[in-house]
């Protein structure tokens, strides 16, 4: 993919990630706020190291990101509360978030390979992207638990109530992220199949060395 295309995708992604923060606050879902801030940090990594606003990751990695972020922003602002935590359309929000987290995690792995004297094969890059996405989903459970506790859900052992539905509220994000991250990993494996590792790891465009 041409560098100019990557730069456009990068610029659009940064704007959409900022809009995601606003949309997440609007639907009261702080997991999206954290995901967007986490993603923004890694979206700005190429600029930080090349000192060039036109530098970007390989376009093939970035390509799905604007669609995912745009889908969340549009759906969150149009459907509002139906997209908030535990609402009927929350699973769609989680699916989109898992996709975004996989791409952000892949960027994290590129950062690790480029700047932390660590090398991984492409196979391990994909595996670790999935691990980061699943670990983040696991850590979000703390926020969801706190949210449930503050909202008065029965979060402690209670012999008078069946807790399955409340357990599922806590587990929904992890479960969906786990299954969809496997699917996304397979997609990325085939999507990036013919891209050499060197290209995957380089920052394209601007004054960078590609």
């Amino acid at each position: 993919m041409k560098s100019s295309m990557s730069e456009h995708i990068m610029a659009v992604s940064i704007i959409l990630a900022l809009l995601c923060v606003a949309a997440a606050v609007y639907v009261n879902d702080l997991t999206w706020v954290f995901t967007s801030i986490f993603g923004l940090c890694f979206l700005l990594v190429p600029h930080h190291f090349t000192k060039d606003w036109e530098s970007s990751y390989c376009g093939k990695i970035m390509m799905p990101l604007p669609f995912v972020l745009a889908a969340f922003v549009i759906l969150a602002f149009t459907l509002g509360n139906r997209f908030s935590m535990f609402a009927d359309l929350w699973p769609i929000s989680i699916v989109l978030q898992a996709w975004a987290m996989m791409i952000y995690s892949y960027m994290t792995i590129i950062y690790i390979n480029n700047h932390l004297t660590t090398d991984m094969s492409r196979r391990w890059m994909l595996v670790y992207s999935m691990l980061i996405a699943c670990t983040l989903a696991g850590l979000y459970a703390y926020y969801i638990f706190l949210f449930m506790y503050c909202e008065g859900y029965p979060v402690f052992n209670d012999p008078d109530h069946s807790n399955f539905i409340y357990n599922w509220y806590l587990m929904e994000q992890m479960t969906i992220t786990l299954f969809f991250s496997i699917f996304y990993t397979l997609y990325l494996k085939f999507h990036l199949k013919n891209v050499p590792r060197r290209v995957l790891l380089s920052y394209t465009g601007g004054n960078s060395n590609e």
Partner: protein
């Protein structure tokens, strides 16, 4: 006393104590094959697995790992046989943390093995700590998902409440943290090759890892590109 002798003594003593406790439980329950007795027998046999693996020349497990695994198995069986899970507060929390530490140790040694045999893999000690945390927490997620699916499919109660799940996660994170601390000192004291060579892992595993090493895949891709 060398490491092998220490390993044998730990495994055999743990196995004999559990076997003794299981026999006492069987006698007091009039010989019925209860869940407690099956668990006790299984754990007593499981304590001998490290010796079996060494005898089969598959792997010589590190002493630190064996001690941790034996403690985990022993405490679980002891808790089941003597009802410690029901009557001792936090028993579940302690066993869960130690079990997570065992999983994290498997990750620690596994990552070192891959680091040594995968030509495309190179990790600093700090990154090995990150890998331990990520893999252990992902195992934790997989386990909790397995629990909720079991609850839904079979109508059982593996997950009691959201608090129970969060406590399990915290135990898993604590187990990973313990092993990260252990790995910090271990990697300072021993280099990766020394640790991996001491395990005498069967060559078939080495062949498997080398065959799936990233180098060949990337060389192939570069060839296609050119």
């Amino acid at each position: 006393m060398n490491d092998i002798k220490v390993q044998n003594i730990v495994c055999i003593i743990a196995s004999l104590i559990l076997l003794g406790m299981t026999i006492i439980s069987a006698v007091t329950s009039s010989g019925r094959l209860t869940y407690e007795i099956v668990t006790g027998l299984f754990c007593a046999l499981f304590c001998l697995v490290p010796i079996l693996l060494r005898r089969l020349k598959l792997i010589t497990l590190p002493t630190a790992f064996i001690i941790m695994a034996e403690i985990a198995v022993f405490l679980h069986a002891y808790g089941v046989l003597l009802m410690r899970y029901d009557f001792v507060p936090m028993w579940d929390t302690v066993t869960h943390t130690i079990s997570s530490a065992v999983v994290a140790m498997i990750v620690f040694y596994g990552v070192q093995y891959i680091e040594m045999h995968d030509s495309e893999m190179h990790a600093t000690p700090k990154m090995i700590h990150v890998y331990i945390f990520l893999i252990t927490m992902t195992f934790s997620v997989i386990w909790e998902v397995f629990e909720i699916f079991s609850d839904a499919a079979f109508g059982i109660h593996m997950q009691y409440s959201p608090f129970d799940t969060i406590r399990d996660f915290t135990c898993d994170a604590a187990g990973a943290a313990i092993v990260i601390l252990f790995s910090h000192f271990s990697l300072k004291k021993h280099d990766i090759a020394e640790t991996v060579n001491a395990m005498h892992i069967h060559p078939m595993f080495e062949r498997y890892v080398s065959r799936h090493s990233g180098k060949k895949i990337d060389d192939h891709s570069e060839d296609n590109k050119n």
